[in-house]
């Protein structure tokens, strides 16, 4: 694994009557891609939110390049999310009123970059991502695959250190999903960023460097994906995280 950019240690997340994370350790290398898998309710989306500074863990620590993310204020974490992280969601969650290029430029504008420069930097991503000609279309005027490519462009436009994705192909057909996933991992890698993806889909996990299996808020396994892309149902492969006793 390359040098660690993001890590979580002893992460616990408790909601009112649910323990979503029960002591998770995880590390992500600087250019590494990591898939987080597990059944519904296993805590994988919560782990993503904690690592991305979206929510603070009940206990444990999150470090980005050695800095404590979990101790940062809401304002500081918002700044981190704007400048160091990128996000791709299941349905893109593009803003329906904005054009494609405005959606992509939005994170830069939120960070204070001028509108003109934000739009220019956003448009520069359209050709490499196969979005040429869609700059002025709204999300509702695009196919699911196109909208997800726009979401990828939005995640990458700020040249983040880590790109987080939550079921990025969940709303797409198999072929489009495969194309989108390929594009996502390629472009993230080309930018030298780390990639953390939450997925149910073994094919998505197969294109990642490593897969973490969660169940009931603890890590079941954490290891390199075998060549056949099939993970063991239990037991550690390469251990870097805490495991259920």
């Amino acid at each position: 694994m390359s040098a660690v950019v993001l890590s979580g240690r002893g992460l616990v997340m408790t909601y009112t009557d649910t323990q979503a994370l029960a002591g998770v350790d995880v590390q992500v290398g600087r250019t590494e891609s990591v898939a987080i898998m597990g059944p519904s309710g296993s805590g994988k989306s919560t782990l993503l939110h904690v690592l991305a500074g979206v929510v603070r863990p009940t206990a444990g620590e999150v470090l980005l390049d050695g800095d404590r993310v979990d101790r940062a204020s809401e304002e500081e974490r918002s700044l981190l999310r704007r400048t160091r992280f990128g996000f791709v969601f299941q349905s893109g969650q593009l803003l329906p009123e904005l054009t494609a290029r405005e959606n992509v430029a939005l994170p830069l504008m939120l960070g204070g970059t001028s509108r003109k420069e934000s739009i220019a930097r956003a448009e520069a991503l359209f050709v490499p991502l196969g979005l040429d000609g869609l700059e002025r279309r709204r999300p509702g005027q695009m196919s699911g695959g196109q909208a997800q490519r726009v979401a990828i462009a939005r995640a990458l436009v700020g040249r983040p250190s880590v790109v987080f994705a939550d079921e990025p192909t969940g709303a797409l057909d198999r072929r489009t999903g495969s194309e989108v996933m390929d594009l996502l991992t390629r472009t993230v890698r080309a930018q030298g960023a780390a990639f953390v993806v939450v997925t149910h889909d073994p094919e998505v996990a197969a294109v990642c460097d490593r897969t973490i299996h969660l169940r009931d808020g603890v890590v079941l396994s954490d290891g390199v994906v075998p060549p056949d892309g099939v993970h063991p149902s239990s037991g550690p492969v390469t251990t870097t995280g805490a495991h259920r006793a």
Partner: protein, 669 residues
Amino acid sequence: MRERLVSALRTGALVARSDHRRTRQTFVLSAAAAAASLLVALVALGVTSGSWSRATLPEWRTPVLAAEGTTWTTLSTSQADGQVMTVARFAEEPGSPVPPPAGVDHLPAPGQVIASPALVELASRLDPDELADRFPGTPTTWGVLGDAALTTPDELVAFVGVAPGDPSLAAPLVFGGSGPGSETISGAVSGFEPVPAGDLASDTSRTLAALGCALLLVPVLVLAAAGGRLAGTRRELVLARLRLAGASPRQVTAITVAETAAAGTAGALVGTAAYLALLPVLARLPWQGHPWFVRDLVPPPALVVAAAAAVVVVLVSAALSTLRAVITSPLGAAQLQDARSTTAGRLVLAVVAVVGVLVALRSSGALAVQLLAVVVVIGALNLVGPFVVDRLGRVLASLSRGPAGLLAGRALSGDPRGTWRVISGIVLAGFAAGFFSMAAIGSASENPGAVLLAAPTSTVQTVVGQVQTALGETTTVEVLTDPTDSGVIVEDGVSVVEATVPDGPAAVDRAVTALDGLVPGQRPIVLAAPDAELGQFFDSMRTLMLGVLGLSFALALVSTALTSVASLAERREEHRSMRTMGASLRVVERARTLQTIVPLVVLSVLNTLAGAVVAWKVNDALGTTSQSHAPLVLALFVGVGTLLMLVVIRLTGRNLSRTSLPGQPAADG
């Protein structure tokens, strides 16, 4: 077919119950919107219906005069405590076949007085020489008129019984004038019949009430529609799931109709009950300077049912309009398929309508034409409103450098009709404010100090002496050389004595009391406001302005609050997405505020000016002048409207930090 519908309704209820708290909240808020809409609609209908009731005069005011008879009456007006008082004198021979008018079971016998409750109370309160001495007996011995004899509860009316042949039944020697004492009917009667008044005041009253109804129509509809759209997104999700489970568009429609019709009906019942409960309070509010009888404010039951049905239909229609996506496709269409932009055709139509109004106003100054003009202009404003919102959004998006302006601008041009629905209540209230502040002309001045008394020229000097003695040295008494200068006409051989008394209603009342009966058959005339009816017209205008403005404001603010709450829920995922990618809460709030305030301020200013221009045209047609302080009123209106809207947005946005919080427990963990 019926079984399938019932089955779908049961399934819909089951799905709705799965989110019990939100279902109940939505039901209550939708019902509240329906209740408030209907309440305001009933107030408007009540006032309109009441103004028609008032316009029908009680029977005793319209005796059927005959050449000969066994019953005689003389109606005359006078003044008491600055108010108009009507005195009806009756004489009848024993066994007269003429039935008494409504409100009394018999006509007063000679020397007997039957007075309205307000007159009894006033006469008891004032010194006897100001009022009670004009009548036989004392207030405690007078009978009391029934409500059927009165138009308003505070009306001052006295029935006085006299003997046949009494000089007070004689025709007056003086005619004309416009103050109390100038209106007189005299002669033998064959009966009493209620007839419409048909005078300027009652015509104006009815027209203004209808105008108020027209102006309130839009805010009422906006509020009811906001109630219907309240659960748009949640309903869309629930019903999309049902569609995926195999429900047909017809079944989905049936579920929505049942859900919103139930909320609308519950709201309509509450609104009707609230109106009935508020009737005693509403009846105290003056219209044309007088409170109401509760009976007058109760609209015909058919009208109440029609209004309630209309509110429910609007609520259901608005709810159905949120279902288009679900009905078209089971997956729905949460995203905008295309910009719901507006075309310049709206502007052209609006301009054509306004030009038509201006032409119509130039050719006719009739109140009906003016009423139609106002309604057409409101329709034109509704046409042009979304167009302006759309263009404003484009301008805002292209000029803004930050994300908030861009988001607000694109949101405006993305759904201009939706934004217009939110702000139209306040904006149209601005039109009403512009109209009434310019149209409410100052009321005529009053000059209550002069009292006239007609007398045969042969005895006029004696009468002058008697008047001087009765009223004292502080009163100037003279014989008018040209009575027409005072607006009265006299026959040959008749002169008019004018007594100028010190200012104040009490002094005038004493003068009237002292002069009453001094010349047999002649009653004093008080030179009051030269245009009393015009004064009442403007009183009504002011009442209407305050009523329409207050209700429009209240409705618009409630609509805005409801729409704002619904919008927060509908855009929750977008807000979460923005905050996840690092947008601060401030940016989200700023975009939300700009999206409402920018079009509100621009359109309020435009519409307020439009209202002022229409009022100016109406003034032009009536030959009247505008209020000098109108610009201040208009500026105040726009300022207060914007401020209140900001407060509503801020209050409804208090949940934004919570609802937009990313990272809530996800379904998949």
